[in-house]
Chain length 355, copies 2
């Protein structure tokens, strides 16, 4: 068995692969592959409907919040969010907590004024900024709730009177939050929601229709809301995989239940990092991400040997991002506690052999 | 066996389903599903590279033409094309040959002037316009090479000195064309190239960088060219399915070989429509599509019975688009001649029983 710690696309529930594999051959005994069925059929409409209902239920969304399954990935949202929410002369507030935040900021500047209200760039993004104020007149305040590359996470969602917008690509559905407090949430599916190729947008519909610019049809959220995410042919299979993942999460007991396991996984691994003399964490302890655990060694040569050692022992995807180095273990929802325990064992063994 | 005549998402080669199904369980014996591997791994890079090389080879593209695999579907291209190619005060020429052309025209108007140089709207889009002129100063001339809903197809690509842009969603790779004559070709994959969830763009790179506006990063083709279609996480599985489809097409002998079979399929079905007293074609004979064959009956009640009859006999996806009515048999590359022969038999049987 391979233990998949990849940062994304990443591990999905094992039972899902069997179902998805069968669906590619013969979807619900129709004699057709899910890859060749029409998207405007009752067969696929049922998949889309179930995925939406599950997401609304798991996130406990109120009726103002609409759920969309869109093409384009979170990077498309970097520009689509300000295009829909920010008028030319208005100001949006952004927090700068990593490469992905910075990319979101760059795109927002094409549509209005951007005020960066806090940044951890000078600390190499190893912490979440604490003391800052968001101007009352900022149209919205954008945060990246979890920073995949650096392994930091907003442990508390900042209190602000502003409209909140969040890129939750790498921690959506991993912990209990009051999702209704956000006016817009977006997330690429390929971490906690499914496979690559679809993007989730949760949006308070009351925010829409307030900017004056001409928005291309496909980029206007209102059109996708009206068409039930089927303004054009949706990524059928990717949405099906989301639906299976959401079903699995519900079976696990939902977000409350998975949060407990996620906490246990993170505690287990961080405890080992703190106890083991060979390893050390890279970010401020209070801002440590429960999804992406980044750690290094003092000696780059030993790092190489450790990487080799875990690879030989069926660990996949643990090399750190090139901008941070060292290691990154991603502990998304579908990663079982057993995989973390196994990794900790290897870290222990390696330390003993290299004492 | 189900005979899949659906207009899209549509039939794919049978052998592909087995390979794709296995890849979802265990990709190339890696112990990992293709749904959980990183996109920046040699494993996936090999898929992307092979898909690109195959497409360039099958389309006989020169070195000026780049191949992109993008998110968003052809509907995204309706706005992305003029955003990248048309400056505010310039004019683009469009042909209006159906709903999809009309949607492309609507988006182009957001970015510059649009001159509709020909339209078959008054004929309910049942023909391809013949006599028209494209102004020399038009920045480009846009055509929809095949009109999926109405079943018309440009049999000859119009001669023009202008830069040519084409939506080839429903007939790409179905017939030999000089693809290098086009400066930009786009096509949703879900007909002749693969499953829903990825979009192909072939672009002459010399056209780019000439408009003055600020283009969002994700929508600037130059960025995707530079990043090899991986500016953000690509739709991994959808690209893998493209690669398998392109491999299959090459094994069939490429575009030349598939065109011969496509011609035979179309001739077989149109001959039956013309010979069978119950059926009649809906479009001008010389503009008949070889991909989407539209036909009706005089009597709507008998249409319902025929639809029921073929459904009971394992025919899928043959109901006509709601705006045309009757029937539409889509004969994409992966549909075998046997399925067409079988449909013709049923049409014959039905006519005898209902003489």
């Amino acid at each position: 068995m391979i233990h998949n710690f990849n940062a994304g696309p990443s591990i999905l529930p094992k039972t899902l692969f069997e179902q998805a594999s069968e669906a590619v051959l013969n979807y619900t005994n129709s004699g057709l592959s899910i890859l060749e069925i029409g998207h405007r059929t009752p067969t696929f409409q049922a998949v889309m409907d179930e995925a939406k209902v599950l997401l609304k239920e798991l996130m406990k969304l109120d009726n103002d919040h609409e759920v969309l399954f869109l093409h384009g990935g979170a990077s498309t949202q970097f520009m689509q969010v300000p295009m829909n929410l920010l008028s030319d002369k208005e100001t949006a507030a952004y927090s700068d907590t990593g490469v992905w935040s910075a990319k979101a900021i760059k795109e927002a500047k094409l549509f209005g004024n951007v005020e960066i209200v806090c940044s951890s760039k000078e600390s190499n993004y190893t912490l979440i900024p604490k003391d800052f104020a968001v101007p009352n007149d900022a149209k919205y305040f954008h945060i990246t709730t979890n920073n995949t590359i650096y392994g930091t996470q907003w442990q508390k969602i900042p209190h602000t009177s502003n409209s909140l917008v969040a890129d939750m690509s790498s921690d959506i559905l991993s912990r209990v939050l009051d999702f209704n407090k956000f006016d817009l949430i977006y997330a690429g599916a390929q971490k906690n929601i499914g496979a690559a190729g679809v993007n989730i947008v949760v949006i308070n519909k009351n925010c829409l229709g307030k900017v004056k610019r001409n928005i291309p049809t496909i980029l206007d959220y209102r059109n996708q809301i009206k068409e039930g995410s089927m303004l054009n042919t949706p990524p059928v299979f990717a949405i099906y995989v989301c639906m299976l993942t959401l079903r699995w999460l519900k079976e696990q007991g939902g977000v409350d239940a998975i949060e407990k396991i996620n906490n246990e996984k993170a505690t287990t691994l961080y405890s080992e990092i703190d106890a083991n003399p060979l390893f050390k964490g890279t970010v401020a302890v209070e801002d440590r991400s429960k999804m992406n655990v980044c750690f290094v060694m003092d000696n780059v040569e030993i790092e190489e040997r450790f990487l080799q050692y875990v690879k030989e022992n069926d660990i996949y995807g643990i090399k750190g991002h090139r901008s941070v180095g060292g290691f990154r273990a991603s502990l998304y929802n579908a990663l079982p506690l057993e995989s973390v325990n196994y990794l900790v064992e290897l870290m222990n063994d390696f330390a003993q052999k290299n004492a």
